[in-house]
Amino acid sequence: MIELTIDGKKIQARKGMTILDVARENNIYIPHLCWDRRLKPYGGCRLCLVEVEGQRKLMAACSTPADNGMVVHTDTPTLRKARKTVLELLLVHHPLDCPICDKAGECALQDLAYKYGPSEGRFYAERKHEPEATSALIDRNPNRCILCGRCVRVCWEHQGVGAINLIGRGFNTKISPAFEETLDCEFCGQCVDACPVGALGAKPYKYRARAWFLESHDSICPYCSVGCTLTLDLREGKILRVRGVDGKGVNQGDLCGKGRFGFDFIYGESRLKTPLVRKNGELKEVSWEEALYYVAERLKAVLKDYGPNSIGAIGSARASLEDNYMLQKFIREVIGTDNIDTSARLGYAWALKGMEETYGIKLNPIKLESPIGKEVVLVLESDLTSTHPIFGLKFLEAKNEGSHLMVVEPRRTKLARRSSEWLRIKPGTGTAYILGLINFAIKEGVHLKKEMEIEGLDELSNAVAEFTPEKVAELTGLDKERFIESARRFINAESRLIALTVGAAENQKGIETVKAAANLLMLLGEGPDALQVPADYSNTYGAWLMGLRPMNGGKDLYTMLYEPGALKALYVMGEDPLVTMPDAGRIEETFKRLELLIVQDIRLSETAKMADVVLPAASWAEKEGTFINAQGIPQPVPKVVSPTGDSIPDWQILRNIARVMEHDLGVIEFSALKEEIAKVAADSGQQRWRLVPVEYDLTEKPDNEYPIVMVTGNIMQHSGALSVMSKSLSHVLSDAFVQVSPEDAERFGVEDGGFIKIASRKGEVFIKARVSDEVPEGMLFVPVHFAHARVNMLTTASPEGRAHLTAVRIEPKG
């Protein structure tokens, strides 16, 4: 600890802090423009100058370390004069277009000029850069730029992208992509929040409102399971923009493109406004009364004819805790069956099962900060910066702070590009790589050094015996020496972490991947915290906790969807299995054989188009609720806008149906529901370590007829089917595509941008090809979100929870 004096106040501080850090911690105001908490000190704006006694020069507080006995003054006539001059110089070429600039009212330069600045400038110059107006989501006006470089540094240092830079020198410098082309990045918009002036702005917000017209509400992002706090800015009951506020929420102000720009899905054109009932083969708009009575009558009829076990329900990983709780209560109490599940069954459930079989724990919340400070961090075949962008950032941060970031991944993902070591394996062989590590660790005798006894060691070492470095090199396509080098580094590290996702949309990992990783970590003496497997969506974790899974032998998602005839009636709440789940052809067949398909959704999804009844639900931000993020933290989501059309919250729909069916669920108000949910106990299980043997085999192997492996997954701008409703996100990416490697493109005569036919053993689809070296030879990558592409017609589901890669062949269309 050191002690210094700032403005006459004696202050304790830690060594290594800068003067600005100390001042901020103690609520002492020092103006600054180029400083950002997340970035290295830059010392560019010269506004944070302070006087330090004994120093002749003024010191930049952001880059001067605080020292013992230092006496600092932050507001003296000299400093005011210095700041005034700095501002005068900044304003030399800053256009005074505040009346039309969207930043006015929340502009750091405006505020500082008001506080310190002169009212007249002695110098005048004009920049005549062309504002960029063609970019999809980010509006660039280089004339307003003060060249503080915050956007550039956030983009490169923090976000790991480096899409823009200060191009040019001196007066002509401007922020621009490398060759002054239209900005084409991942559109996270972090630069927009970082910009202290109006040089970068969110396009959807451009000229929509003034800062003082807005009212702000904090909410939780509806997309992935990180559960970022969004600050929604509303005008007259309409959300106009989303900001991340520094230091707020689990994300501490960081946001990704989905969170920042994807909110407008609630204003999507396909939103349902009234209930629909199928009459003479067509969905017709009806009143709530009619729809509710229809649902009740039909459900009663199915109950009477086939019994409760013929009815099932699928909950939503994106609906609130309350909605999901109500669904399972309805199914269990009114219908009287245990047939209930969510999309978590396809991914996260396997991760949990894998953890339970190995570590013995039933829940495994992640810790966002977990990668920081680990010696080796291994990311296994997961595009974390796309699926869980803010969690992904922590991996970049860890690497910047000195961790060795190993990325075992066939695709050139952002983490792969920014890794310390990128092991480009063949798709789906991540499990083999881990098994190889286990074999290597046992051979090296690492487990013996820890002097631990874990049951199952012999079985495991037998099971992995065949995964010698040679075999792993053959399976994964890695160089043997390279594998051994990476294995040695991982095994001998002081601290380590394995992170992977097992997503519903992904098909290259499964329960065996999780078990293999858990085995390896146990062998090395690491607890479950060293294995980070985040849940998929905003409330996957919550829905799991609420009991949206068969708990007493009910039918699970695989039985309900992939065994035609297993059910007579299905209640689908906020899920679109036909688009987001594998083997869509089979699901379609199941739906056709149902007597009653009830879909409750915010929009007319593909599944809803097949339904007998469609009930319009209020969406995120239109109702109160709670999300539990992947860290297991419940976070309230307030109602900030009024529901679209006649839609009402999901839990109210279910309550009303129960009433019509003359059943009292005992919940009338939201508060009562919340109280009831508070009583639900989470069973996280007891830790009991066991090594379990893991089998590794691909369910579908490429052969001569189907030589290419197709991997499905989520991408940066889209996740699940929700984001496709967002106009802003669709501006960036609205069309389905498949990534083809340049080698395969040449081999099969595929042109970039041309349509190709992909055929698997299940069927064939036509889709646009993007030739990209992001994927290696012999691999296709397809995002599954786009309904019209029907990618999931090709895929298969794996009820055993294994990786289920699809072998395909491609040919140009025509």
Binding site: V161, G162, I167, R169, S176, P177, F179
Partner: protein, 151 residues
């Protein structure tokens, strides 16, 4: 793109790839005389950096050229000492004789002229660099003689 091999050698001398950016750009420029978009992209790929970072760094330094240069680069000083000794007359002379504007290139692609700041030869002003050769004590006659030896 011969320079990529040279970059691989340079990389060994630096603790990280970003550190090798300036010398890598230099070898790229050495090959073509200037830095084209393709060169930037090649350097970016070789160093695993975004093209924007490469371009941003390159445009900061005056010694990287961003447009095609003539076969010979004349860098003439017009700073105080050289100016007093008549450097500006030399600039006019080059314009009249070769049609060479500051920052421009002759039509036949023989010379490019860059007006540079002090090269530290004030005692022998005016001074210039042609490619990497240093010439001082220039006057109207001498400069033409010198330049005529560069074809």
């Amino acid at each position: 793109m011969e320079f990529l091999k040279e970059i691989e050698e340079i990389l060994n001398r630096y603790p990280d790839r970003q550190g090798a950016l300036l010398p890598s750009l230099y070898v790229a420029q050495k090959e073509y005389g200037w830095l084209s978009q393709e060169s930037y992209e090649a350097v970016a790929q070789a160093l695993n950096l975004p093209p924007a970072t490469v371009k941003g760094v390159a445009t900061f330094y005056a010694m990287y050229k961003h447009k095609p240069m003539g076969r010979h680069l004349i860098q003439l000083c017009t700073n105080v000492a050289c100016m007093v000794m008549g450097a500006e007359r030399l600039v006019d002379l080059l314009k009249n004789k070769y049609g060479l504007e500051p920052g421009g290139t002759t039509e036949d692609g023989r010379f490019s002229l860059v007006i540079m700041e002090c090269i530290g030869a004030c005692d022998k002003a005016p001074a210039m660099l042609v490619d990497t050769d240093f010439h001082a004590d220039l006057n109207e006659k001498r400069i033409i003689e010198i330049l005529e030896s560069y074809k």
